[in-house]
């Protein structure tokens, strides 16, 4: 399997940013080259829908397909270079105590919830709404065109050799984290997933902790 477990030596008490993001909330943050960014799954099995942009030219953004081709594997873990649409690394995963993260499952939306579950589910809170609100607040004219398919940290979406896409129980647990180092100026966009219709959050969306250590 592709699990590459790696702990980090960084001390949360020395982090420059240390915030707890409740389930159902969006978040943006700019990283400088060399900054280290950690996401902690505080209570376990929480999907953290995430996109990255080159903050100096947001037309260059995270590409799931460039990322999986660059490493020849669909699962993200320690050592994965998170590639941009221009084929350049935006960040590199440097520590991971979960071991597997998804980048094929995308983000939930009001409309995809209608398709997947029932037409009456349109009112339910979803990741795309959080992405759109976070981008609207961030400004710079960013919006729905700036939502390519994302990473789902801590989510397990296996593909079988026969080509089936499955949604398996999470492989994460309370306190597990993934940590990445920015290779360039990076805008981080997160939706801490509010999905209640499937087991991606174990039917109980929970907060995550976000930490940043500046380049030391």
């Amino acid at each position: 399997m592709s699990f590459r477990l790696q702990e980090s030596a960084f001390d949360p008490r020395q982090a420059a940013v240390d915030v707890t993001l409740p389930a159902g909330q969006g978040w943006t943050h700019e990283l400088a080259p060399g900054d280290t960014f950690r996401i902690v799954d505080l209570e376990g099995n929480q999907a953290v829908d995430t996109l990255f942009f080159n903050s100096r030219d947001v037309d260059e953004r995270y590409s799931a397909t460039e990322t999986i081709r660059a490493q020849g594997n669909i699962y993200l873990s320690t050592g994965t270079r998170l590639m941009s649409s221009e084929g350049r690394p935006l960040l590199t995963i440097v520590a991971d105590t979960c071991g597997r993260h998804d980048t094929l499952g995308g983000a939930c939306s009001a409309e995809s919830n209608q398709v997947r579950y029932a037409l009456e589910k349109k009112y339910m809170h979803n990741c795309r709404d959080s992405f759109l609100l976070a981008l609207a607040r961030y400004g710079h004219g960013m919006g729905k065109r700036d939502l390519p398919n994302n990473i789902n940290f801590f989510m397990n979406v296996p593909v079988t050799p026969a080509g089936e896409l499955t949604f398996a129980d999470g492989v994460s647990g309370p306190g597990r984290y993934v940590e990445m180092r920015a290779d360039t100026e990076v805008l981080v966009l997160i939706s801490n997933c509010p999905q209640l219709n499937n087991p991606c959050n174990a039917y109980n969306p929970t907060p995550v902790r976000l930490l940043v250590w500046p380049k030391g």
Binding site: S2, I68, S85, E86, L104, R116, P148, E164, L165
Partner: protein, 241 residues
Amino acid sequence: MTTHLHEMLRGGQAWSRRVARHQRLRLRDVEGRACVSALFYNARDPIERYNMPDTLKAQFTAFLTTGRVLFSDMGRVLCSIVADDCGWHDTISGIGGAEAAAARFGEGSYQTLRNEFHRNGRDNLLVELGKHGLGKRDVVSNVNFFARVAVDDSGALAWIPANSRAGASVELRFEMDTLVVLSNTPHPLDPDARYHPPPVELLLGDGAPAPADDRCRLSRPENGRGFALTEAYAVEMGGRL
């Protein structure tokens, strides 16, 4: 059936066209080993576009074939795959750019090869998107018709050679007015080091709406709800129904 277009897409060529609701577009791999990379947009409002994850999640699949549909990011069906004698079309492995093409095929510049130069998929998409006022922000995970990439239990990707064959075709029925953008360029995981993408035949004709017992509509309850949302949108836009 009225034929609106019948043309040969040359190896390396890019193509874009608006296709009307209920029209059918057939792509035929004339020689075998083709790869046609494709993106799809709502022709009236192109910020609505093909969404690979939503397409895969709704149908619990990691590839495309007959009976499956291509969902937009608004829960609607852009088009349905009504016929396919290839059997597997990739949508998880993306499209290659200029640097990867140069590394694999050598320089291949216009200056030395004139119109046989090595066109690459990403640049082809940007050229065609530019004709419609679109650009880098509109490039999302695409479909690679006639290509197959397998995923093993560890998540490793493997290129499957000879997935297609001479004469294989796939036929799409459009459920919305759609802007179709194609690039007939080598798949980025195909190890063939020679640049010689084969021609692909395009045939566009009229067709009928999906009947109540349509295979694509009924293949999953998710698809039925996607058709319901698409038909409601046709009403919203002043169309038939």
